[in-house]
Structure formats: structure tokens, C-alpha cells
Symmetry: C2
Subunit: 371 residues, 2 copies
């Protein structure tokens, strides 16, 4: 399979890097690090699930180009995306007398990327970061755009920075070992990208979902390429989320609140985003701001991807209250991303609470939707 | 006294802000926050020494423009510039449900500025920061240029980010309550700026030192203005310390190592920098790279400022070894900033260790220098 490349530049945010998509890209990543930084060592930050699958491959690629590979393994799972684990990475790097030209490889899903990125942003006031996502979610979303972070008792991702990678390598070989449930979770972000920016991609997704769900490498590579194109285009225009980057939060204000109320361990992020997109779309149609024909296509695609249509038995008022603690809330006003039609969304901060509660109820109440 | 203003722009580093210098500037800072961000609350991060002196003044100014002032007091002293104190600020902000448009005021010396800055950089991936330095050191150095940080068991400032203020307010009233020892410590950084970039300022310092040591407000304001001009000019050219910003480390590779060996509590930062400048200058002259007439003028100015000429009884080899753990070391090679003449320095990474040890010995050995 031919390697494909997307370049992301946002000069005023110190972002200027390639995203490579294809197969067998570990050697290329190691060569990039060797030629650009000439480090004597690199640290591969990875988690206890991914390390046994892929760490040796990346380490071997580094050794081949004369770089000593150090491996820092963190415990897998969102529940470890916290200050203690960040401190563990900090200690690991500083005890190895880290230097400014020594890159960190983030080998894993979104949690690893966010935490390794936060560590890379803050050790010695910033060292190079090479993202090697091993989940679809990380490949199409978390690894691109420079967001890093950890969770806090008050909510998810409340601590973090913007720190762009020097290189992102989406190697389809690494992603093909993903559990099916995580592939589906990543698909929710792909559907999101299609709704906010690319009606053609939505149609492509409708046609190619079966191949994607069978991990067909060429389809996965095409999927990642299309999605990274959408994301990189938005990030380049608005790296610090001051305007249109907020569109990427479509489904997320609802989604984050649902995750919080249902429990992060019970509701995967992508599942929550799928439910959030359904709620936001129904809300937008109810307010007369969205073409009604979007909803059946969205419902069909979400169902076909194996994503949930409801998460039943939760109080919509509790979800609403959790929405107010999301970090995108500006002065206690909800800002929601609402679809207008396929490929276009808008930002609304004038939505009546009663309508928001009704929209939440369509995904949390038994039998609320005849789907 | 007329207020003076310096503007700092470094577009690719997201830096674009004013530095105001004068007296009675608290109201101006509060008005700036109100007009630019319209927040309902601001947090004043300050320490247990500064809070009783100045926090009420800043809080009153905020209240006058309709902003609720919250005060987060951290324990004073470099020994608290650590992860625990950072976590305390993080918790304080998040428990008050911080929002992206709500500024943080850093009211204090370098430690407060570095820590409040680190918190502002990392809460919600960055919130506005207004620096209100209350020490000369912070006014002429730490508050300008976006460096933030905390210490780690492996060394000082090893964790941090670049996060520029939205406004820096150097109010001479706040600085006039400074202990004399801290004024002297700040003067070391002023002497450094003069040596690396401004021979005229060096001559001005020689003439005005008596007034400065008596806290004459007009002289302090002029001193801060000249020094911020030097610093802002360098930061604008090289915000991420990839090239000439390294000049600001003149005296610092030696200085950081001396602080570490002698003990941070025993040797104030400015004292260590003064000793470091003496060592670096003697080294440079010994290597034939510096005009010899710089040394007697530097020695005289350092002595006149009440800064030390030696710190006796330490092994130069221990200091050398500590220099290698400084974060500016690139691949185990010492990079030293050496003076060439007044107003000009150079970067050297080819200095023989024996010469470095000899230079250290001139400030650590009893009777080494006939001064």
C-alpha cells in the first residue's frame, strides 16, 4: 500500500508537521527522529495493553538507526489518566537526564497520546513528540491537533496544554490489532467529522462500513486519510480553539456529560459521542435549525457501525447539570454545536434548557425513540 | 510618574502583550481584565509573604470593576516550587469551576510568577495570565518572556511550559517593599542584561546604583524599563530559546550549579548569577575571547551592588558535575555563554573542562582572587 501524507501548518501555534498514513511505517518514524534530532536515546511511552503487542517493533526500528530505545510503560485505562501517571512519566524522563533534542514516542491510544503529549510539553519546557496512534480514535482525532491532557476529580481533560507533534505516524498494522468495540468507538469520531465538514465522506462511510468493520487495511487507510484531512484543515485555521475548532465538539458536550453520569468505565467515549450527536441533531431539528433528513441517515449509520442508540435509565436533568461542568462552558452558558445539514454545523448559546432536556431524554429514556 | 509601556510581539509563539511600568497600576490591570475578558471572577495567586502586603490592593481594584477576586495563597519560598503546590493551585481553580476566559493574576516574585504561569498554561489548556511582579528579579526577568515552571528532585525548573502573559504590570509601589537582599539579587540580572546587550545601560548602572539601592522610585522605574527592553527584544526574536535567547543564560550554567551545590536556601539566585558571571568572564578572558578590561568593571559593579565575589569552601569538581545536569546541556556537552566585550556574548561548546574548573575555583576557593 502506498504511504499517504498530510501536512499540517499553523505557524502562530508552532505547528508544522506531517501525518503519515500507511503500513510498515515504524522504520520511517525512527529515521525521522534520527535525522531531525540526532538523539542518543528516545523514550517510547506506551501502556500495559499495547507494550506487549508493539513496543518491540518500535524499539527495534530505533536501534537500527543507532538510537537507544527506552520504554516507559503506564497502566492501561482512562482511570490512570491522572497526575500520578503524569508524575511517573516525568520522573522516568528526568531520571534518564532527558535533553531538549530527545523525542518522546507516544505509542498507544488516546490516553497514551494525551499523557505522553502532556509530558513532552512540560519536561524542560517542551521536547519533540512523535505520535504513533494504535487506535482508530487516536489516529483520526487525538494524535492530530496538539491537544494534551489528564483528568482531574472535577472532570475529564481539565488539565493539559497545546503541544503539537513533530510527526504523526498512523500505521494501519498497529491499528489492526484493535478490539472491535474500540474500532466502533473511533467510528463515532469519523461520523462526527463527516457531519460537520464533509457530506461526501458521509456517503463514502455509508458505502464502506462493512469493509471497515472487517479491518480491511486499504479501507482503514482511506478512512484515516479522509478524517485527518478534515481535522488538520480545521486545526490549521484555529489551532487554539478560539473559533471554528469548536465545531469538533459536535456531540461532545452531551457526550462528556453522559460519560460522567453513566461512568467512564461503562460508556466508551465514542459511544457517548454517538449518543451526543443523536441528541444534538434532534435538538437542532426541533429548533428548526437543521434539515430533518439528516436524522434518519445519522441514525442508520450509527446503528450500522454497532454504536448504541440509547443508554437507558438515567435522569436527563443529571446529564444537563454535568454539561455545565464541561470546560467549554463560557460564563455558565451552554454552547452547543448543532448540525444545519450534512457537512455544516453552527454554534448556539441561546438554546432553552427545556429543549436540551428533551433532547437528552431521547437517548436516556426507555422507549423514547421509535427507532 | 508617567507610566511607560513596552510591547512584546512574537507572533509564532502566540505572544502579543504590553509591559506597563510605573506607579499605582493596580486599577489599570483590573480594567484591562474586565474589558478584555469580561470575567465574573479572577484568581490572585500570591504567596504567604506578599499576600498581607499587597493582595487587598489588587482585590479592591478588581471589585471596583465588578470582578469577584479570589485569592489563592501558596507558601512562600523556592522549596515550595513543586508539584504539590502546583496541584494546590490546580485544585483551587477547578473547584471554583474555572472557565477559559477567567484570568489569573500572578502577584509575587519569580516563584509565584513561574507557578501561577504554569497553572495558567495547563488549566483548561490555557487561561489568561496577568503578571504583577513584586520583586525586581521578577519585574526585569521572570515576568517577561513566557517561561513557567516548577522544580523537580533532579533539578530546578525542569518542568514547565512557555505561556506568555496577556499583560505584565511592573508597579514600582509593589517592589518598594522588597527586602534589600532581594533587590540585590534582582540587580544581578540587570548587570547580566547590560553585559550581554547594552554597554550604555552598564554605564548607567555604574552611575545610578546609589539611588537604586535607596529604592528611589524614578530610578527603579528607569531600571526596569531599560531591562525589560533588553529582555523583550531578545524574546521577540527567539521565543522558544532555540538561538539567541540562550544569551540570557550568561552566568546561569555556573550559577545554577553553584545554587545546587551550596544549597538553594543559602545562596539566593542573583548571588549565584553574580558569581557565575565572574567565573564565565574570567574563563572567557583566559581563553582569549574577551576584552580584559570588562573584568574590573564587572567586579566593581557586582561589589558595589552588595553582591558576593566568592562563596568559599566548595569543590569546583562538584560544581562542574552539577553543571552537566542543567537542562541546557545538549548531549552531555557543556554550552556556555561567554562575554566578548560589554554588550556582546557568544555561545561556546568547546571549552576544556580544566579551564572550566579553574574558572569555578576563582569563586569557590579562599584567596583565589585578589579582589
Amino acid at each position: 500500500m502506498a504511504m499517504r501524507k498530510i501536512h499540517l501548518t499553523a505557524a502562530h501555534a508552532d505547528a508544522d508537521y506531517d501525518i503519515l498514513i500507511g503500513t510498515d511505517l515504524c522504520d520511517g518514524a525512527a529515521t525521522f527522529a534520527a535525522e531531525k534530532y540526532r538523539p542518543h536515546a528516545c523514550t517510547i511511552v506506551t501502556d500495559s495493553n499495547v507494550a506487549p503487542l508493539h513496543a518491540d517493533k518500535v524499539a527495534a526500528a530505533l536501534q537500527k538507526v543507532g538510537i537507544e530505545p527506552l520504554v516507559c510503560v503506564i497502566p492501561a485505562g482512562e482511570e490512570h489518566k491522572n497526575i500520578q501517571t503524569l508524575q511517573h512519566i516525568w520522573d522516568f524522563l528526568l531520571q534518564h537526564r532527558w535533553e531538549r533534542r530527545m523525542p518522546i514516542f507516544a505509542l498507544g491510544g488516546g490516553v497514551v497520546g494525551d499523557m505522553a503529549g502532556f509530558a513532552a510539553a512540560t519536561v524542560l519546557r517542551g521536547v519533540p513528540l512523535i505520535q504513533m496512534p494504535t487506535s482508530l480514535l487516536a489516529a483520526v482525532d487525538a494524535s492530530v491537533g496538539g491537544k494534551t491532557g489528564i483528568d482531574h476529580a472535577m472532570g475529564k481533560n481539565l488539565l493539559g496544554t497545546f503541544h503539537h507533534a513533530s510527526l504523526v505516524v498512523a500505521d494501519v498494522n498497529l491499528i489492526s490489532t484493535l478490539p472491535r468495540r474500540e474500532l466502533q468507538s473511533g467510528l463515532a469520531e469519523c461520523i462526527k467529522h463527516a457531519v460537520i465538514a464533509d457530506a461526501n465522506m458521509f456517503a463514502w462511510l455509508e458505502r464502506h462500513l462493512p469493509q471497515i468493520l472487517h479491518f480491511d487495511p486499504a479501507s482503514l487507510a482511506e478512512l484515516i486519510f479522509q478524517n485527518v484531512s478534515v481535522k488538520a484543515n480545521i486545526v490549521a485555521q484555529d489551532p487554539y480553539e478560539k473559533s471554528i475548532r469548536a465545531h469538533l465538539n459536535f456531540g461532545h458536550t452531551f457526550g462528556h456529560a453522559l460519560e460522567k453520569v453513566v461512568g467512564y468505565d461503562k460508556l466508551p467515549h465514542g459511544y457517548a459521542v454517538a449518543l451526543g450527536m443523536l441528541a444534538a441533531t434532534r435538538l437542532s431539528i426541533g429548533l428548526g435549525r437543521c434539515e430533518p433528513q439528516l436524522l434518519p441517515r445519522l441514525e442508520h449509520l450509527i446503528r450500522a457501525a454497532g454504536l448504541p442508540m440509547t443508554v437507558e435509565g438515567y435522569d436527563p436533568r443529571a446529564v444537563l447539570s454535568a454539561m455545565y461542568s464541561d470546560k467549554k462552558v463560557a460564563s455558565a452558558k451552554l454552547r452547543l454545536i448543532l448540525p444545519v445539514k450534512l457537512g455544516q454545523v453552527t454554534i448556539a448559546s441561546d438554546v432553552p434548557e427545556a429543549s436540551v432536556i428533551d433532547a437528552i431524554a431521547t437517548v436516556t429514556t426507555v422507549g423514547a425513540v421509535s427507532a
